[in-house]
Symmetry: C2
Subunit: 398 residues, 2 copies
C-alpha cells in the first residue's frame, strides 16, 4: 500500500517556499499547492520553516560516549597515548555498555536531525567484539530511523596488540561495514604493514576503508602517499576516507598541491571536524575548490577524550566554519553541503538531497535563513527518515 507524507510551505535551503510530497519514503514531487493522492496521508504544516536534507555524521564513536552517565571528570595527560590508556582504564573500571551508550547517542543524534551516521567501534583484545556487538544491536533497533555504518577500528593499535587483526576480521564477517586504520607509523610502528593489513581486510570482505590519521606534517604526508598507493593498486578508488588528516594543514603549499593531486587521482575523501586547538587542520575551502570530496563528523561525544563535542551536526558546521574562519555566505554554504551531501556520498547514499527521487530524509527548523540556522542552531527540529517522522521539538520519537 502506498503511504504518503505532504510537507507544506517549507524553504529548501533558504529558497522559495514550496511543498514536498513524499511517497513510499521518497520525494515524489516539489512545488506549490501539492495535494496527496491517498486519503490517509500525513500532512506537516511547514509554516515557512527551513528544509534541509538529513544531516550526515560521517565520523563518530558511539560505543564509548559517556552521555547519561553523569559528568566525567577529565584529568588525563595531553598525549595521544595518555588518552588511549585513560580510556582503556575507564572502560575496565566502569563497564561502559556499548549498546546502552550508542542508543543514547542515537536518540540525541536523531533529535538533532542526523539521518546517517558512520561510527567507529573499538576492536580490542581486552573486550573483544563486545563493542561491535552492542553497536550492531543498536543499529538493528534504529534501522528505520537512522542509517548506521559500523567501522571496525583498532583504537589501541593493531599490529602492536596481537590478536587484534583476527578480531577485526571476525567483526567484518559479523557485519561491520567498513575497515578502519589508525596512525600507521606512530601507533603501529610499521606503516607499510599496517596499511597492507587494513587494505587486505578491505579486499577480503569487499568493504570501504576509513583511516584515522593524526600524524602531523611530513610523517602524515608519507602516510597519505602509502594510502594512495594501496588505493590505486587495489582499485579502491572512491572507497577510502582519511579522517582528520591534520598533515594537510601542516605542509607547505607545494606539498599540499601534490597531496591533493594524489587524493583526486584516487578519489580519496577527507573527513575533518574542525578540530579543537590551534594545530594545523585540513584547509577546507582549498580542498573543496580543488574538488576533493569532504565529509564531517562529531567525533567522540563527551567521552574519555574530552567533553567538547555534542551530537549536533549544525554545531559541527559552525565549528568547521569557525576553525576555518569561513564568514562569507558562499563559504558557509559549502560547509552545509559537507554535512549533508558530502557525508552521504562517503556513506554510499549519493542520492541524498532535496529533489524528486531522493529518499525523504529531511530536517525542518525555524530560522531566518539556512546560514542563520548554522549560527543559531535552534533545538526544536522536526526530522523525517524515509518519509516517517522520527523526531519533533528536539525529541527523538523512536
Amino acid at each position: 500500500m502506498t503511504t504518503e507524507l505532504l510537507v507544506k510551505d517549507v524553504r529548501p535551503l533558504g529558497g522559495e517556499t514550496t511543498d514536498v510530497l513524499v511517497r513510499d519514503g521518497r520525494i515524489a514531487a516539489m512545488g506549490s499547492g501539492l495535494t496527496p493522492t491517498t486519503p490517509d496521508a500525513t500532512v506537516i504544516e511547514g509554516a515557512n520553516w527551513l528544509l534541509f536534507p538529513g544531516f550526515v555524521d560521517a565520523h563518530t564513536h558511539m560505543d564509548k560516549t559517556l552521555i547519561g552517565l553523569g559528568w566525567h571528570r577529565h584529568d588525563a595527560g595531553p598525549a595521544l597515548l595518555d588518552k588511549i590508556e585513560h580510556e582503556r582504564r575507564l572502560r575496565r573500571d566502569e563497564g561502559i555498555d556499548p549498546y546502552q551508550q550508542s542508543s543514547r547517542q542515537a536518540r540525541l543524534a536523531i533529535a538533532a536531525g542526523t539521518t546517517h551516521i558512520r561510527t567507529f567501534v573499538d576492536i580490542d583484545t581486552e573486550w573483544g567484539l563486545a563493542g561491535f556487538e552492542g553497536v550492531a544491536r543498536m543499529r538493528e533497533d534504529f534501522k528505520d530511523a537512522l542509517t548506521v555504518q559500523i567501522v571496525a577500528f583498532p583504537q589501541s593499535g593493531m599490529l602492536v596488540r596481537s590478536g587484534t587483526v583476527e578480531l577485526m576480521d571476525q567483526a567484518l564477517r559479523d557485519g561491520a561495514d567498513v575497515v578502519g586504520g589508525l596512525d600507521p607509523s606512530t601507533i603501529d610502528r610499521d606503516p607499510a604493514k599496517h596499511l597492507d593489513t587494513v587494505f587486505g581486510l578491505a579486499e577480503k570482505h569487499d568493504v570501504d576503508v576509513d583511516i584515522h590519521l593524526h600524524e602531523p606534517g611530513e610523517l602524515g604526508a608519507f602516510a597519505v602517499e602509502l594510502i594512495a598507493e594501496r588505493t590505486k593498486v587495489l582499485g579502491w578508488r572512491g572507497r577510502v576516507v582519511i579522517s582528520h588528516a591534520f598533515c594537510l594543514g601542516g605542509v607547505d603549499d607545494a606539498e599540499l598541491g601534490r597531496l591533493i593531486d594524489l587524493l583526486l587521482a584516487n578519489d580519496i575523501a577527507i573527513m575533518s571536524h574542525g578540530p579543537s586547538g590551534s594545530r594545523p587542520a585540513p584547509p577546507v575551502m582549498r580542498l573543496r575548490e580543488a574538488g576533493v570530496r569532504l565529509c564531517a563528523g562529531n567525533d567522540g561525544i563527551r567521552d574519555a577524550w574530552g567533553p567538547l563535542n555534542m551530537p549536533d551536526m549544525l554545531l559541527r558546521a559552525f565549528l568547521i566554519a569557525y576553525r576555518n574562519n569561513l564568514r562569507r555566505d558562499d563559504e558557509i554554504e559549502h560547509v552545509l553541503d559537507i554535512i549533508t551531501h558530502g557525508g552521504a556520498t562517503v556513506l554510499g547514499a549519493a542520492a541524498h538531497g532535496l529533489a524528486p527521487g531522493c529518499p525523504a530524509d529531511l530536517v525542518l527548523l525555524d530560522a531566518e535563513t539556512h546560514l542563520a540556522a548554522v549560527i543559531e542552531r535552534p533545538t526544536s527540529r522536526l526530522v523525517v527518515k524515509r518519509g516517517c517522522i522520527v523526531a519533533r521539538d528536539g525529541e527523538c520519537l523512536v
Copy 2:
C-alpha cells in the same frame, strides 16, 4: 527602605546546594535555611540550579551589530582593510542606528546572563560622535540592568584620518570611559606617535586604555613593548588591556616569556575571544599560569565583519576552550573565571563574585555541573542585576 531577595537552593559554580540572601543589591549571606528579614522580600526557588556570577563581556562592538536587520549577505574580501571599507560603505548606505542596535544587543546579552559589558564605539570623521551618542543613550536606558563601559575607538584609523583625535577627545569629555587604540603600525603607520596620542588622551581624561592589536609575530611583539613602555612611564599599571594580541601565539617560547614578563611588570591584561581561524592566538593556559590577567568578550556580533559571533558568554567560554583545546575540568574552570572575575577586574568591578559583600549580579541555569553548562549552554536562564531580576527563561525583562 531595605529590599531583599532570597535565592533558595542553588549550587554556586557546582558546589554544595545553598541559599543566597541579597540585601540592597549585595549578597548579605550564603548558607542553608536562610530566611528574609523583610516581609515583602522576593523569593526565587532555585530548584538546585547552578549559580554563576554575572558574565562579563569585556570586548564587543554594540554600535554596529546588524542583529534584527535581516540576514546580512557576507561577501567582503579577506583583508582587514577590505572589511573596514566594507563596513564604512554599509554604514553609509544603510544608516545603521547605533542606539537601536546597541539596545538590541543589550537585551540579548542580558537574557544570556551578561551583567557587565565593555563596548568599543567607532569614532570616525564621517559620522562623528553619532555612534558614541547612541550607545551612551543605551547605557543610560539600561543602567539598572547592565553595567556598560564605552571605549572611544578609532576603527578607521586615527592619525591617518585627520580630525579623529579631536573627536576622540570630545567623546572622552562627553562620557566615554576608556580610550582605545588600533594596530599602531599597520593601520596608523606610525606606532610611537599612535601610542603617544592614545596614552596622552588617557592621561588628559584619566581613563583606562584598551588597544586592539591584530599585528602578528614580531611586529605585534614590538607594539607590546611600546605599550608596556608607555604604561610604565605614565604609571598606568593595571589600567591597560591589549585586545586580541595574536602576536603572543606567534613568537617563539623565549620571546613569549619576555613579553609575559613585560605584561606582568606593568599589570597589562590580555583580552582573547578564542578567535576563529587557525592563525596564532594567545595561549590562554600559559598566560594564566604565569599570572597574566585575562578577560574575554564576544567581539562584533553578526556585523559587517562576519556572522559567527553571538552575544552569549557561555558560548564564548566554549569557543575559548575549543580554540585552546582545553578539555580538562580544571582548564575549563579557568575559562569560567576569565568570563566572570577576569573581566570584572578589567572593568573595575573586582568585588564581582559569589560571596557576602559582592554585588548581587547572578545567573541561574539548569545543568548537571558548571562545566556541563559550558558544553550545553541552556538558553533558559534567570539573571539578577544588583538584586533585581532582569531576565527569565532567556527573555530580557528590561
